[in-house]
Symmetry: C2
Subunit: 223 residues, 2 copies
């Protein structure tokens, strides 16, 4: 393999990043290309570096890990995400997978399983911490890989800007509001909107919302 597997680390604890980095250094053809201390920095680096994988603390500051995961999947759906978490509760796992993460690793497992997790994700798989029973993983993975497979695949017909618009529409924003948020004219937003509708062959805002949910751009919850 000529091109190494590029990894971006996102965790607010320097020591933890150092530990992960040292673990990864023992792997072949895998390289840590950047580190971020919070979500904003992560997104900035993401645009600049375009890594293959982001390893992220779920409780990272400024855009918590799951929000950042959603953003990553909108900005660059091909980037895989491995969530590091201290939470054993299944709700966290569920939300991580629905946010689009391909991996969920407990920090207490990280020492022994991180390399396996990275390898699994590198090969297109999904990795769930062994402490969270394998059955759980199967279900969610089956469901959410099947339901959102084109998220990463070549079937993604939308541009980055268009995915941003889709997310905002699904959040209930009007074209005018989106224009103000994105610092562009509402007319431009309308233009994107029309292009999205045409590309996806949709007719109604309702369809767009369902598309966004299916893609994991937003959560179905109204709360």
């Amino acid at each position: 393999m000529a091109s190494p597997f590029k990894i971006l680390l996102a965790d607010d604890h320097v020591m933890f990043r150092r530990g992960v980095r040292s673990l990864i250094q023992g792997m072949d053809n895998v390289e840590v290309v950047g580190e971020a201390g919070d979500g904003f920095e992560l997104l900035r680096l993401l645009k600049a570096i375009h890594p293959h994988l982001v390893i992220m603390d779920i409780s990272m500051p400024n855009l918590r890990g799951l929000e950042a995961t959603r953003e990553i999947k909108i900005l660059d759906p091909g980037v895989k995400v491995l969530i590091l978490s201290m939470h054993k509760e299944r709700e966290y796992l569920y939300h991580a997978l629905t946010a689009g993460a391909e991996g969920y690793l407990l920090k207490e497992d990280a020492d022994g399983e991180l390399i396996s997790a990275i390898e699994t994700l590198r090969q297109g798989g999904t990795f769930i911490s062994p402490l969270l029973s394998a059955q759980m993983a199967d279900i969610f993975v089956d469901k959410f890989q099947a339901g959102s497979e084109p998220r990463t695949g070549p079937g993604e017909p939308l541009t980055i800007r268009e995915r941003e618009i889709v997310k905002l529409i699904a959040e209930g924003k009007s074209s005018k509001e989106m224009g103000q948020l994105l610092f562009i004219s509402s007319r431009t937003v309308q233009h994107h909107r029309a292009n999205i509708m045409r590309k996806l062959n949709l007719k109604k805002t309702a369809d767009l919302v369902k598309y966004a949910i299916q893609k994991g751009y937003v959560m179905a919850s109204v709360f």
Copy 2:
């Protein structure tokens, strides 16, 4: 208990209905109050009888079982639904639970487990066929009971008509289209729409779509 637990059977096979009925006859304070051979008949009987539980074949004609389940949850969210299915695949279980069913029983299990299933649902629980591992159930039940508990509870502020409107909006229908479908004026639809928005304290169609998905009135899929 003075009032018996009223059950409506929906299955296109008469012999199967007969078998279920005979099984139930051995139970205390449980009564089969009607039988339907397809989905349309089921909904008609539902409005007339208002049973406590519907036991339904997943592959029933004219409105398949899952569609009928969604309709039931819109028309009368307090009615519990037990799906009878020959499908072991987890996708069917998943879709049944997201459609709002409280129970999923494999036909090959029905003989030995039907009474347990009915009792469980009667007491407000969720029953999944033992052949489908218990872990699966736990996950989904936790998720979807937590996420849609008010579906059956007193927190449901919408009327039947309003829930119908919500479902149609989430399906992408315009007020004019809904008026034609429901044989009422589009102005009436707009009035319902405004009432729904006010009751739920929502502002945008996008929020309504997410509400409908959360409630299980529609699926998030755009396909």
